[in-house]
């Protein structure tokens, strides 16, 4: 391990929530730390750094991924969606609104990962069963809610999005 020599860096360009960002980063910087500390988008949370809790889950080119298990340099040229990008500023999308109404969050620390995971689920499966929802979020740990409120929110959001889609 070479402690005193200068750390290797790379120039990367990542699109986050539709906007392009170019930075020079240390190659060992995780994607989670890049989002939080380099881009100052602190909505994505770090709960374990070993890929179990799911709080750091973001969407990478539309599919969910644990940002603590990726290096920022790996996301070069890719699209990332974080909790900050789910709805225009000041608004809540149907999933966020449903989480609010169904009390799907308490301390809110796991919520960013829950939202991105459920966003992917509803994209893939607009009419999930309760079991589908529970399996989808089985890789997201929540210590506050017992999951009931989250599951109800996902089902409510799915229903509303389907109705919205049917109308438009």
């Amino acid at each position: 391990m070479q402690i005193t020599s200068k750390e290797q860096t790379r120039d990367i360009t990542i699109t986050v929530n539709g906007q392009s960002y170019s930075s020079t980063v240390k190659v060992r910087m995780t994607l989670a730390d890049y989002l939080r500390h380099e881009l100052r988008m602190t909505g994505t949370h770090v709960g374990c750094e070993h890929g179990v809790c799911g709080a750091c889950t973001v969407l990478l080119d539309g599919v969910s991924a644990r940002s603590c298990l990726m290096l920022a340099v790996q996301a070069d040229g890719h699209q990332i969606t974080t909790i900050e990008g789910l709805a225009p500023e000041g608004e809540l999308n149907p999933l966020q609104q449903a989480m609010h109404e169904m009390h799907g969050l308490q301390c809110g620390f796991c919520t960013p990962g829950i939202l991105t995971t459920l966003t992917e689920l509803l994209d893939m499966n607009p009419d999930p069963t309760e079991e589908d929802v529970r399996i989808a979020i089985s890789g997201n740990l929540c210590r506050c809610t017992g999951y009931d409120g989250i599951v109800k929110a996902a089902l409510l959001a799915a229903q509303r999005i389907r109705t919205q889609g049917a109308r438009s």
Binding site: Q8, Q74, G139
Partner: protein, 298 residues
């Protein structure tokens, strides 16, 4: 927990990757990252060089023929899960994949990564053993094939030289009317299997077992193909007594013990998982379901 410093390389070709692996000391290849990055973050592993394989497009993808499916090492588990070819022709892999981690980990995790990591309870490793997969490995001298039975050399030790790269895996197909079943016991959904059983059954026109394969995962440091069980089953008509007798042989296996799970427990579970997998595989292969009714419990 942050990884220790390393030099990062992201080759775009297999040749470049091999060249790097061959010339660098203390180098690790990064596939899906779901295991390696976690270990690096915890500093259990501290490579000086990290060779990221994710930019090598020639390493990913499926090649489907009538007799086999060839899967590139960097093919994501997600792609396998949703592939209609896998669903139709490798139902064992499909069923196993639903037990592999979670949606987020399957989105990044790869077949090659799982096989090279060789966790004793990794589902895809059991699947490869059961299907008699053939692994193709590339090194500076060219490519060589390794039957999967020879691939695991010990606890988390694949038969890979430091300068070699797993390139693809060939899965020979069983006839369409075969029955497959993957069962496992895990504490929570998506957890590593404590014990798993992967079973394949093919019946002939007389309804007798023409061919069978059974692998126990999680029971020892490498997956165990139960050849003795397969021998007992061959040529017989499937039924609960036969399956029970065959499964009971699993109690004799050499099982590992750790601080959470005893060897005795693993052996007990091996018998149960084998029975359940073999029963389901037989039924799916066309055996009469009602024959098995009373033994379908649990």
């Amino acid at each position: 927990m942050k990884p220790s410093p390393f030099t990062y390389h992201d080759p775009h070709t297999i040749a470049d990757a091999i060249s790097l692996l061959g010339s660098l000391e203390n180098a690790r290849a990064l596939a899906g990252g779901q295991s390696l990055m976690a270990m690096m973050n915890m500093r259990f592993v501290q490579p000086d060089h990290l060779i990221d394989l994710n930019r090598i497009s020639e390493l990913a993808g499926l090649d489907v023929s009538a007799t086999e499916i060839r899967v590139g090492a960097m093919t994501r588990q997600r792609e396998l899960e949703f592939s209609p070819h896998i669903q139709r022709s490798l139902p064992l892999m499909q069923e196993a994949l639903l037990n592999v981690g979670h949606r987020q980990t399957r989105n990044r995790g790869t077949l090659g990564g799982s096989l090279c990591h060789l966790d004793p309870s990794a589902e895809l490793v059991s699947v490869a053993a059961t299907l008699d997969a053939i692994v193709t490995v590339a090194g500076p001298e060219g490519q060589r094939e390794i039957p999967f039975a020879l691939f695991p050399q010990g606890f988390m030790s694949p038969a890979l030289e430091p300068n070699e790269l797993l390139v693809h895996v060939r899965f020979p197909l069983w006839p369409e009317n075969h029955g497959a079943s993957f069962v496992e016991f895990a504490r929570r959904h998506g957890d590593f299997a404590i014990v798993s059983a992967a079973a394949l059954i093919l019946l002939n026109e007389e309804g007798r077992i023409q061919r069978t394969a059974l692998t126990l995962g999680g029971i020892n440091t490498v997956p165990l193909r139960m050849l003795n069980v397969e021998t007992i089953l061959a040529g017989n008509v499937p039924g609960p007594e036969l399956i029970r007798e065959a499964s009971e042989m699993c109690r004799q296996v050499d099982a590992i013990s750790d601080s959470m799970v005893t060897a005795a427990y693993r052996r007990s579970l091996a018998v149960v998982m084998a029975r359940r997998a073999l029963t389901t595989a037989c039924i799916r292969a066309g055996a009469q379901k009602h024959v098995f009714e009373t033994s379908m419990q649990g």
